[in-house]
């Protein structure tokens, strides 16, 4: 299992704007792999194309060119309906904003992916409770999103991303709206999921400290891969390594 590829991105391009208008190359030829059970970070300055990359991998947007395979399936040639099904079965999302549906309880939010897949109601509850325990939010299940803290919301979002056991979790700046304490606890939870439950994660972030929890980081700049670093030593060493790379960007 460990060396199987979950995400295979081959030479993808993304161009915004119509052909005869002002075109903008947000991605120009990005290629990389994510292995099962990996925790990969994507970093780069604002406007580098991180969100665009995440969107095309998450099937929310179509690349202009190139192929993407997730769990062995080529998603670039799929139809809208199939893509929706694919997302609901194979992917889990955590976004910076609008994570949870505020008209549903935390429990209902987490249960939603299972309901959508037609999992019978008696099997839903144990799964929700189990994943909520993993993320330490089992006491707030009956509350509505507006009544819990930002960190709890984000962990609830992580629980929802995880509950249907997707091939990979995609997170866009999950700590972006959190204070440092909540950010740390969310990252701890994600590392825990990754290490103890073999969940593959791809996380976009601009926060070096959050990024230091990853095993591997891809830096992109102006729509291309710029550098890739692996974590060999401790987390604080990795943190410094990341800061060094970011300092390079500044020059």
């Amino acid at each position: 299992m460990m060396n199987q590829t979950v995400v295979n991105v081959k030479d993808i391009h993304k161009v915004f704007g119509k052909r005869n208008e002002n075109q903008y190359h947000a991605l120009s030829g990005v290629t990389f792999d994510i292995k099962a059970g990996e925790f990969v970070g994507i970093m780069g300055p604002s406007g580098a194309g991180k969100t665009t990359l995440l969107n095309v991998i998450s099937t929310l947007d179509k690349p202009t060119d190139g192929t993407i395979e997730i769990a062995g399936t080529n998603i670039t040639s799929m139809k809208q309906g199939q893509l929706a099904d694919f997302r609901s079965e194979q992917l889990g999302f955590i976004f910076q904003d609008f994570n949870l549906l505020e008209n549903l309880t935390i429990y209902e939010n987490i249960a939603l992916p299972l309901s959508l897949q037609g999992v019978p109601s008696r099997k839903i509850k144990p799964s929700v409770v189990e994943v909520a325990k993993k993320l330490g939010i089992e006491t707030i299940l009956e509350k509505y999103p507006v009544t819990v803290s930002g960190g709890q919301k984000q962990r609830a979002a992580a629980a929802r991303a995880l509950v249907h056991e997707p091939a990979i979790i995609l997170a866009d700046e999950p700590t972006g709206a959190l204070d440092s304490k909540s950010a740390k606890s969310l990252m701890d939870a994600m590392v825990h999921l990754n290490e103890n439950h073999d969940v593959s994660i791809m996380m976009v972030t601009h926060d070096p400290l959050s990024a230091s929890y990853c095993e591997r980081i891809l830096f992109i700049h102006d729509g291309s891969l710029y550098k890739e670093i692996h974590r060999d030593g401790s987390r604080s060493e990795f943190h410094h390594q990341i800061l060094d790379v970011l300092a390079d960007f500044a020059e």
């Binding site: 549906l101 939603l112 509850k125």
Partner: protein, 619 residues
């Protein structure tokens, strides 16, 4: 400075303000439309079959006013949701609370004033357009109706200014009570309606009692009269809102508590949507139910009056056509009708009297309308009385034999042997020998029934015209009325009823338009925040078809509940007319089906519009 800021932010959220303006202006326009009738005493008194019509319109104004108050409070609270986040921001930047409070007050009032002006203009246009449409359709001259009616303008202005002052105060007060933080995060808040079992039970019980009292008053309106109308208006309005306030939150909660149901597919979301702004929702649905009741009620009454014209016209006549001394033109007109029964009777006329041949009458006895009891409606029967004497005279003066009652009815009413036709002559029924002794040409009168009376109005008009000319030869006079026939009654009833029908249609359309605008406003005003939710669902992989299904279901429930309640109100309410309409439920399926079709189409259109707004665009 703040004022400037607030104007610029209004400009930025122009679309949202447009929605708000739309919601307010339609309400104002409809209120004005209603008042163009309600305040025009001369017109409504001249055109109504109901004696206390002015009073009825007073009660109508009260009902519409009450609904409007609910609705305007709901609509202007949308203003609050539009503004509170920004108000919170001003406060974090150091704006004083009383400044914000003032600002909220003036903004709400300002929007109110604009919509008042626009609403009056729209209301004037609608009143004119709709009135002309129905006058044309009903062939009704509508003399005295004025679409631009000053006293209605004044009433509308005063009513809404007071209302907007109140809502402005409430909005300002609400803003002043909230903390900065709760303002900033207000958009995500649920408004919860507490749903305890016992409270629901008593709420629903009270609602049922109130509505029951209202229904009782309506059914027995002949006994309670004006008091009954007031009682019914008050209890039914309160009861209707209470049904939604007490029952709906409980109902949705119960649905949600059913885990198997709630956790199936996208149900939890659909129900969550219903539950999210429950307090507003109950106000909207109560308002819609009342408007359905009023609009459909007015339409149904109008149509019922219309269908009852023929019923009324045939109260005393069993035969549809009577032709004395038919000309060629008359015979041709009759030939164009589908005649179901036709009898010919002979008679002679001289200077003193009209003499019917007894043999003809006995061979083909005519149909008449007859009732044994005074309060029963007459029923169609065939005359079976025998005529043993040789001769009879209609009223049996001096020594002459008096014609038995049923025969008398047949000759007076069905054959129209009346003063209006023959002038001052006595009417006789003669045996064959004496009949032959009368020196005069023999004439005939045709009685006929047809398959569908209303289909032959042009032919009947021709016949009626010829009968008038005939009457002139007997009466040496300009004759405007050649006696009572079913046709002449029909024309007379139609003249009286068309005013009432006009009012029914005019108001029906107005109320149903307001109903549509209220539902529309509810959807448009919540669409902005729904967009996020639908795009979120789409992202986590909900198929579009499933989202569409959820929209259909959510809106179906929104449309269904008030329609049901409104429909029941109408069906019971029609009882009120039973003292003036012979059969208030005659063909009631027509207005109800029309309503269901229009409402259904409106539902479908709303779903399509809503889909366009909230469903994310595909890549």
């Amino acid at each position: 400075m703040l004022l400037k800021l607030s104007f610029s932010s209004m400009r930025k959220r122009f679309k949202d303000y447009l929605v708000l303006l739309f919601g307010l202006t339609i309400s104002i326009a409809i209120f004005y439309m209603f008042e163009t009738l309600a305040q025009n005493k001369t017109f409504i008194e001249a055109n109504s079959m109901i004696s206390s019509i002015v009073f009825v319109f007073h009660v109508g104004t009260f009902i519409l006013g009450a609904i409007t108050v609910f609705y305007i409070f709901y609509a202007t609270s949308f203003m609050l949701t539009l503004r509170q986040k920004e108000m919170g921001m001003y406060m974090t930047l150091g704006a004083k609370k009383h400044k914000i409070t003032q600002l909220m007050f003036f903004e709400t009032f300002f929007i109110g004033l604009i919509s008042l002006v626009v609403g009056l203009v729209i209301g004037f246009g609608l009143a004119k357009g709709i009135a002309e449409l129905f006058m044309w359709q009903l062939d009704f001259n509508g003399e005295g109706f004025q679409s631009f009616y000053l006293s209605s303008i004044i009433t509308t202005v005063i009513f809404y200014i007071i209302l907007f002052l109140l809502t402005s105060i409430v909005n300002a007060w609400k803003i002043s009570r909230k903390s900065v933080l709760s303002l900033l995060h207000a958009e995500q808040k649920q408004d919860f309606v507490k749903t305890k079992g016992s409270r629901t039970f008593f709420g629903v019980l009270l609602a049922v009692i109130l509505i029951g009292v209202g229904y009782y008053a309506m059914v027995n309106i002949a006994r309670f009269m004006q008091l009954g109308l007031i009682l019914a208006a008050v209890t039914i309005i309160i009861g209707t809102y209470l049904v939604f306030i007490a029952f709906l939150p409980y109902f949705v909660k119960r649905l949600k508590q059913n885990r198997t149901l709630n956790e199936k597919g996208i149900n939890s979301f659909t129900l969550g949507q219903l539950r999210f702004r429950m307090l507003n929702l109950t106000k909207v649905l109560g308002t819609v139910a009342m408007l359905v009741a009023l609009g459909l009620g007015a339409m149904t009454a109008g149509i019922s009056f219309y269908h009852n014209i023929e019923k009324q016209a045939s109260t005393f006549h069993a035969n549809d056509v009577v032709i004395h001394q038919p000309s060629k033109e008359d015979t041709e007109a009759l030939a164009e009708m589908n005649v179901t029964e036709k009898n010919v009777y002979h008679y002679k006329v001289d200077g003193d009297g009209v003499y019917f041949l007894k043999k003809d009458l006995l061979v083909n006895p005519p149909l008449i309308k007859h009732s044994d009891e005074t309060f029963e409606l007459p029923e169609t029967t065939r005359v079976e009385e025998s005529l043993p004497e040789d001769n009879y005279m209609l009223y049996g003066e001096n020594d002459a034999n008096r014609l038995p009652e049923l025969w008398s009815t047949a000759i007076r009413t069905e054959m129209n042997a009346s003063y209006q036709l023959f002038g001052a002559k006595d009417i006789y029924v003669y045996g064959t020998s004496e009949y032959q002794n009368i020196v005069s040409d023999e004439q005939q009168v045709i009685l006929a029934t047809v398959d569908d009376f209303k289909n032959y109005l042009p032919q009947l008009e021709i016949i009626n015209q010829n009968q008038l000319e005939l009457a002139e030869t007997y009466r040496d006079d300009d004759v405007e009325n050649a006696g009572n026939t079913k046709y002449s009654n029909y024309i007379a009833f139609k003249a009286i009823a068309s005013g009432t029908i006009f009012m029914g249609f005019f108001l029906g359309v107005a109320f149903l338009m307001m109903m549509a605008s209220v539902l529309m406003f509810k959807l448009l005003s919540s669409a902005a925040s729904d967009i996020h939710r639908y795009s979120m669902l789409r992202k986590i992989g909900v198929r579009k078809s499933l989202l569409v299904k959820s929209i259909y279901r959510e809106l179906f429930l929104l449309f269904l509940f008030p329609a049901l309640v409104g429909l029941v109100h109408v069906i019971v309410g029609m009882q009120m007319f039973s003292f003036i309409i012979i059969e208030p439920y005659l063909k009631i399926w027509i207005p109800i089906s029309i309503f269901i079709v229009i409402y259904g189409i409106y539902y479908w259109i709303t779903v399509q519009m809503y889909k366009r707004i909230v469903l994310p665009k595909e890549v």
